[in-house]
Symmetry: none
Subunit: 299 residues, 5 copies
């Protein structure tokens, strides 16, 4: 059963509320739910993610897909925002990713360095900003330090802050891995305690139990798992990620579980742009049918 909080219950400033209202009630299904299109793979993974998927490497193509597919927002890095978003400014909400990194060096203590500021997001007309927070790595101290500034700027400017809450690092791998329920649950809670307005997580795999704390070592269904995560997110709205390209049936099932758990919606990248245009739109339609079943109370 959905326990998704209404916007008016979240202690939001007028600016955060106005921008979230626009995202959640004036785009997409317009019922308080959302489906976002993240498109920062070119920095995070390199152009290899676009190989074999015609158009997927062209930001203009993907932006049009976001507009035509009626997405609630597209998340990009500052470069694409500046060079491509102006053309569609206002037609689809912009989520400016404020940090990012290439995946080539693989340090033991990764931090995703800041690539843009909240003020730039304001200047571009963005309706939210995104920050990747690595939970569980030795880089935590530097990560929290730069996150603090982003969070405060976002408060000051009334900008909703979406945290990509990513468990990472050797200690995480030793305790069930980044997709274990333990790790995802902890990441969601940490982001919530640190003031995220929305939290992006991967759908947890509760079966990954090797090395996890006692409390997570039992039979846990996917529905129970994502429900626990939504509860840990609390009044931070939950977005569930599609991760890598996956089978449609499994994906739709996870989507339904997520909404049933009280999630606000989805953030699907490769599952969307690594398809032909019509196939993408068909998937989006299916996802929206799920979202339509979970309207928020009036904001």
């Amino acid at each position: 059963m959905s326990t998704r909080p209404a916007l008016s219950q979240l202690g939001l400033s007028a600016g955060k509320k106005a921008r979230l209202y626009r995202i959640l009630h004036e785009h997409g299904v317009r019922n308080g739910t959302a489906i976002f299109l993240p498109y920062d793979h070119g920095l995070e993974h390199g152009p290899r993610d676009f190989c074999g998927y015609p158009g997927s490497g062209d930001p203009r193509h993907v932006l049009r897909l976001a507009v035509e597919g009626g997405f609630n927002g597209i998340a990009v890095q500052i470069g694409l925002a500046r060079k491509f978003y102006w053309e569609y400014a206002g037609e689809v909400p912009l989520v400016l990713k404020l940090n990012g990194r290439t995946d080539i060096p693989a340090p033991a203590d990764p931090v995703s360095p800041v690539t843009a500021t909240v003020e730039e997001a304001v200047r571009l007309g963005a309706d939210a900003v995104g920050y990747t927070l690595y939970v569980g790595t030795p880089g935590q101290e530097r990560d929290f330090a730069q996150y603090l500034r982003v969070r405060q700027d976002a408060e000051r400017l009334g900008m909703p802050l979406i945290v990509w809450a990513y468990p990472r690092g050797a200690a995480v791998e030793a305790r069930g891995g980044r997709d274990s329920l333990y790790a995802v649950d902890y990441a969601a809670r940490a982001a919530s305690e640190l003031g995220a307005d929305m939290i992006k997580v991967n759908f947890p795999r509760p079966g990954q139990q090797e090395g996890v704390p006692e409390a997570y070592r039992r039979e846990i269904s996917p529905q129970e798992a994502i429900t626990a995560v939504a509860r840990s997110a609390g009044r931070s709205l939950l977005l569930v990620s599609g991760g890598g390209r996956a089978g449609d049936a499994a994906m739709l099932e996870k989507a339904a579980h997520s909404m049933e758990a009280g999630a606000t919606g989805f953030i699907f990248g490769r599952n969307v742009f690594q398809r032909g245009q019509s196939e993408s739109l068909r998937l989006v339609t299916q996802l929206k049918e799920i979202l339509a079943k979970y309207p928020s109370g009036a904001a």
Copy 2:
């Protein structure tokens, strides 16, 4: 014939364009036109403007009118924005008025002092800011000084700037008065030269010719007059004010002339809230019928 410029022709930053797109294409008639509801009379004139019009003094009532009437924006001072807008945040675009004054002292060199900042407008989720610029008074130097700061902040934060371009002062009264075509035309052009994104003017009275320069001393029709003003506004979008409560037929005629001249729309306060709710909505409907005939090209 409409010569209204498309958003893409205005040299706007992405942020200004995104916010104007939201105002002009996601609210009201959604065709690039606009009707705004200004509601700062409580400061500018005092509560006397509300006497005899039940509900008109209650900001919540007027905000609901703006939402239900499908206005493209409501313009208010910071106090009302902070205490009332949060409840409707995002449902109707907010235009934060950044200066204002009471009308009790009547100095020879009036300047409308700053009451809020562009950053506060951002924090509140506003889609535009408003500034009253008095054209023709001895206070010009102080006025331009504070306007400069507002304009620069608006550029930096991607916030559209609407200038209330008001001819004022003894010198203006000596040259045809504040509503003469000479004065309105000059005010529109001055605001355009000073970087307004939108300009609010009163509909000019070309018959007021006593003391005006040679060029304005001839037979000029209302249509010619407002067309001249729209031309002076250039790529600053033109909004025509309703002024005090007036006869409907005359008002609708002026509205039609304005749109024909290339205006973007109207900004009607007392003509709207000094009526019963249903009468207000009927007037808005009539105005929207006019707007619907003047769609912009694609933004």
Copy 3:
């Protein structure tokens, strides 16, 4: 009928709400109403206000009166706050007055200069700050400029802002005078539009109609008058001033009218400290009996 808004409806930040909650629900009658003791007469009028009233000139005596009388707050200038409040810190809420002036020079364009800052109020543990805004004087431009800074600091630090809304100046005197309903009503609305959290006004005298606008030129009862003012204050809580020492019966009647109109309470100085201690406390008891009849909804 009381239409006083609940704290949760005011769009307050957590800090403003916490501090107002403390003032309104943890002191005095503890039902959302308030009686404040202002004590800045030594600066505003000079020690002559204390002559003949033993103890009234001693801040320690008056602070003890505020504590023992169970006031919701005492309003003083920075000097008294620094030298006397520490002894009673936390026992009665502190309202730090942030501007003030002596009454000796009587300029045509008075502005009450800033004497302390919001940050100092925070440092002293104050629960609110006070600012005297003169409505209707030619000094408006300078007044608004310094008020802007106070208001923004108060927002930033979560500090409730009480505006002493005082009509003043020759133009006001020419339109019914400072206590006319026109003037008081305008002052209340102006303070509300400019973002006051609470507004202190004098009880209006609706009979003073010489020179006032049309709308105020009719038979208006005291109850109607104060109800109009409360409506103009909107979501800014209304405090009614006792003014100079007056007859008790008349004063209690005005107090009852005020609460019936939706006021939050009273701010009574000379009427309190220009009495013997026991007589003061008896008056406070009578005022509290009135307040007790007008509880707020749950905050």
Copy 4:
């Protein structure tokens, strides 16, 4: 025998005194003692601390427990403060934790990174801030650097500073461990020397003597141990932590020892929320009965 210093003896600024007075004399037992509810386990340990204890993961539930249980304050991270505290603003004092970390990476030189600022605490209406200082780790240099800033901001804004004084690191483990009297005593004194207004320590285990300096290698009773720690805290008020869930009788005995030693009170988290609501409230009642026996002198 209690040697707890009165507020007026602590050299506090008016703001710190006002806020501590509110905490110690207007909440809880109202006699100068305190029981705090810390609730940052979601960040420090992850949601596993909530597993099996229904409601314990829901900040709203725990806040209600703090209000209904009559706690003197609840300590949370910025995210929970922003999203949940506004609803109860002022009803229970807020202690904003200003740093925190997840427990997944276990570096040799841990520092708890800053997650919020004193100014944010002011903005939220907090009555105190909390900072975790690790005593004995190689990270000391970075820790002191960020602590310095927190302490100075707290002075400037009149905000009481509670230091979570935690002995940590290999060197500490080699000298009796984090709970040895040596370690706890040193941590209390270090926090006192560095300007803490209150200090949170774990109840020391004087029997852990392996590797401790000579002075601590003798028969020391629990009462003697906590008395020594209170003496080391000096004019920094002492709070004793409950640590992990423990047996009630032992816990109450430690509580009594603490108060006898001159402590100001307790800070109990898991012992409180890892119970059913009624069992929690019963424990709180028992603790308050102890506090009631140790009133402060008048503040």
Copy 5:
């Protein structure tokens, strides 16, 4: 009877208390009283004040007099402080005057412009700073503005602030004049409300009653008058000025009245340096005999 407050009752920061302790308890009579030597006449009146008094124009001579006479402090402008005080640094406390003006232009709205800063006073090792505040002039707004900064710097740096509280201006002259009890009493209270640590006033002339408010129009003895002023100063320590050169007997009587009223001491310039050295020292001895009768309670 002396009601002079002890240092510990004044709500002083440690720095202000330490510096005042040095002034009041380690110099002069060392019993909490003081006699200051002001020496800024060269700026305020010009060298004419020194004519006919050999040595009086030589700062070195006067500084030596201050040291040898065992004064509690010497008040000078920045120029003399920089060029002469270093030689006697620490031997007599330095009071740096922070503003001053020549008496040649006589504007209707005088403000004494700032000539040095509190930070410079710290750099010079001063134990207090002095500021001349004109009470009652139309220049009040500018005066308060620059005073605010001085007061805040003095708070921040723990520097005692002595206010030369001078009634001035046409409105004052119309109400009994600058030495009337009304004017002096108001000035003392205003300085106290604005946060002076010490206040310098002229001994009032209660007989000057023309135009003063009702409360001051009665038979008032000199003792009653200065007692009223001391009461208005409250917890701001009172210094009584000698004014121009006067008869010794009258002066000593005023001094005795002042101490009896609760003053802290004297500030005597021309009465001291407009004499031969030995005569000066004899007068100082007489004044100290009076001071010796009025010890403070322990600080």
